[in-house]
Symmetry: C2
Subunit: 193 residues, 2 copies
């Protein structure tokens, strides 16, 4: 079995589910400072270049950034409703902010910003997420520069080390487990669902 | 604001999304023995009686059971695609197996089993989940008793202590944070998305 079949399977799932907008959403679990798991929906923004790592955007003040900085491991769960398959991915998360010295990372941050729709760009001017809101007051948002990201715009890059791929419509189901070994090569095997 | 508005909001979301089968699926994050988060899709099987706690079924040999027994905190993320809203729930997880001495728990286990479709019941006779599979061999499954659950059938009961409810279609979005206080009462407040 080709070792990185998981990536081809994920690309195929994205294609097969392309008509369902929320098939590009997945759930990202991190560990809170109190040790409990946190879990939220995020939007897939593509792979980082030709790597196996993939990108989500974030407000750098959001809890997931602090959580990943203190405990870098993330648990991704991605369910594809049309093809009825699930990817569970254990990944290390890293953050790209405006201070990066890496040219490829800086480019990824800028290009990802430019790919966002205007309403998503404007959400980066909203008040601090999670702060108390008085909904009798008008909601304040500002214009943003469509070409250049604001200081609070960052990327979370997820670097997979384990992938569990489950097809619910199988014989009766199909499941594969992939793992990045110590030499940096992917190993895959078929397992019972 | 009524303190337990989150439960009414969740019931309403279930109703509004009733025509989408996968709206009853949510993502459950737990902590692995190595401290990393694990995340998987599970199916909502209802509330436990009149409580705020809700049920998923499990094979008692599955990793999530061992994980919750060593670290009971769970991170639930539930996205509703039709109404475009998300519930993030921090919950304590407990397990109900066939050895429970609690009559209500034993009843919930039996009633939940009886509510499963036959193909789901039969999946409890499959080989150990995650064990190596030789797909050149036929897949083995057995009949089950539709009335009485097998020994490996259990419930995970999730007892919420924090709920974050986000409506993506708002003005421009709406978000509420609820928390169970030390006296066992829910407190809610509106926060910035």
């Amino acid at each position: 079995m080709p070792e990185t079949l998981w990536r081809a399977s994920l690309v195929l799932a994205l294609y097969r589910n392309r008509h369902v907008a929320h098939a590009r959403y997945f759930q990202l679990a991190t560990t809170r400072p109190d040790g409990r798991p946190a879990n939220r929906t995020v939007v897939f923004r593509g792979f980082l270049g030709e790597t196996d790592s993939f990108i989500v955007v974030t407000n750098l003040h959001s809890a997931k950034v602090a959580e990943l900085q203190s405990s870098p491991w993330a648990g991704v769960c991605w369910y594809f409703p049309m093809s009825r398959e699930q990817f569970r991915i254990s990944a290390r998360g890293s953050i790209i902010d405006g201070h990066t010295n890496d040219a490829a990372n800086a480019l990824a941050r800028r290009e990802t910003w430019r790919g966002l729709v205007e309403s998503t760009q404007r959400s980066f001017t909203w008040p601090e997420p999670g702060s108390l809101r008085d909904s009798s007051q008008p909601f304040i948002e500002s214009e943003t520069d469509p070409e250049n990201p604001p200081a609070n715009f960052g990327l979370v890059v997820l670097h997979p080390v384990e992938v569990d791929h489950l097809e619910l419509d199988g014989n009766p189901q199909n499941r594969w487990a992939y793992r990045l070994d110590e030499s940096g090569r992917w190993q895959g095997r078929e397992v019972h669902p």
